[in-house]
């Protein structure tokens, strides 16, 4: 079965995000006065083959912990769906 993993990596909440702060100031100066906080992260899409959803989940979790996120400063989350047929 082929799956698509949608992975989101962000800085942990306890870590300052200077990029997010800069964007927050920009949004505020544009008049969006309701903006309270901005955090910037990245989205990674991985297409992979796995025997089933559980195996796929385990593999993606491992990829995140080993390479895709640096867990000293980053947190990750992902969702998995079956890849649309070609």
């Amino acid at each position: 079965m082929v799956y698509v993993a949608d992975i989101v990596v962000t800085l942990k909440n306890s870590i300052l995000d200077p990029q997010g702060d800069a964007v927050k100031s920009a949004l505020k100066s544009m008049g969006y006065t309701g903006v309270q906080d901005v955090r910037i992260g990245k989205r990674i899409e991985v297409r992979l083959e796995a025997a089933g959803e559980a195996e796929c989940r385990k593999t993606v979790d491992e990829m995140c912990a080993k390479l895709l996120a640096n867990t000293v400063v980053e947190a990750y989350d992902f969702s998995i769906r079956e890849a649309p047929g070609r």
Binding site: L11, L16, P18, Q19, L68, N70, V72, V73
Partner: protein
């Protein structure tokens, strides 16, 4: 005395390190990232640059280079390993040093001469034998992601074990918030592992090894390792 300089695709201070080492009288050769042998070298250098284009995260991909397993074994055997700038980031990603690098708080790439205070006792690392604690030196910095972070517990343990080797400071040697170029925790510019044989630093000693290039403070680091090696590889 022979330095082995690890070259990743995207390293760009490898030749600076070789030139500096040779200028101060030592041998230095390159080790390609796909090599698996690091035999015959007295000290390994992970140079600055943009390994793998900084894709994903600085140094995230470089740490999985084939040569890195040999670097880890070399470090575990107690021999000296130094990571400069991007090389420091590689050592962090590889888990050979504690902590992580974040984007500079200014969000800018910073390139300038910087005052740095030597924190470690001379004999704490092979790289500091010719420095004295409290000495204020000037080294160039050039990075966009040098904002050092470690969690509170890790930081406290490292401070207690004397693992903070260099701190950013002002002209009088005080590590003030104003003299912190990138937002690093506690003005940290360089740290070592507990054993002291692995050093990571953001400033570039190889860019300040000859007076004709504006400063020679970095030379002391090369001379320190050579002294350590010539003394039989023990901390005096």
């Amino acid at each position: 005395m022979k330095f082995g300089i690890i070259v990743f695709p995207g390293s760009n201070c490898d030749r600076d390190v070789q030139t500096a080492a040779r200028a101060v009288g030592y041998d230095a050769d390159f080790i390609w990232h796909t090599d698996t042998s690091v035999d015959g070298y007295d000290c390994l250098v992970l140079p600055g640059g943009f390994s793998y284009g900084d894709y994903l995260r600085t140094a995230a991909i470089a740490r999985f280079s084939p040569v890195m397993e040999s670097v880890a074994r070399y470090a575990a055997s107690g021999r000296p390993v130094i990571g400069i700038c991007n090389g420091f980031q590689v050592l962090l990603e590889a888990g050979l040093l504690h902590g992580a690098m974040l984007r500079n708080t200014s969000c800018k790439f910073i390139c300038k001469p910087q005052r740095v205070r030597v924190e470690a006792e001379s004999a704490r690392t092979p790289f500091t034998l010719q420095f004295r604690p409290g000495q204020v030196i000037t080294l160039p910095i050039a990075h966009g992601e040098g904002n050092y972070y470690a969690d509170g517990e890790t930081l406290a343990r490292m401070e207690m074990d004397g693992q903070v080797v260099f701190r950013y400071c002002n002209d009088s040697g005080e590590p003030t918030p104003e003299s912190n170029p990138n937002g690093s925790l506690c003005n940290i510019a360089g740290i070592c592992n507990k054993a002291g044989n692995v050093l990571g630093m953001m400033p570039h000693p190889e860019r300040a090894a000859e007076s004709i290039l504006g400063g020679a403070d970095g030379r002391l680091l090369f001379d320190s390792v050579a002294q350590w090696v010539q003394g039989g590889g023990r901390i005096a």
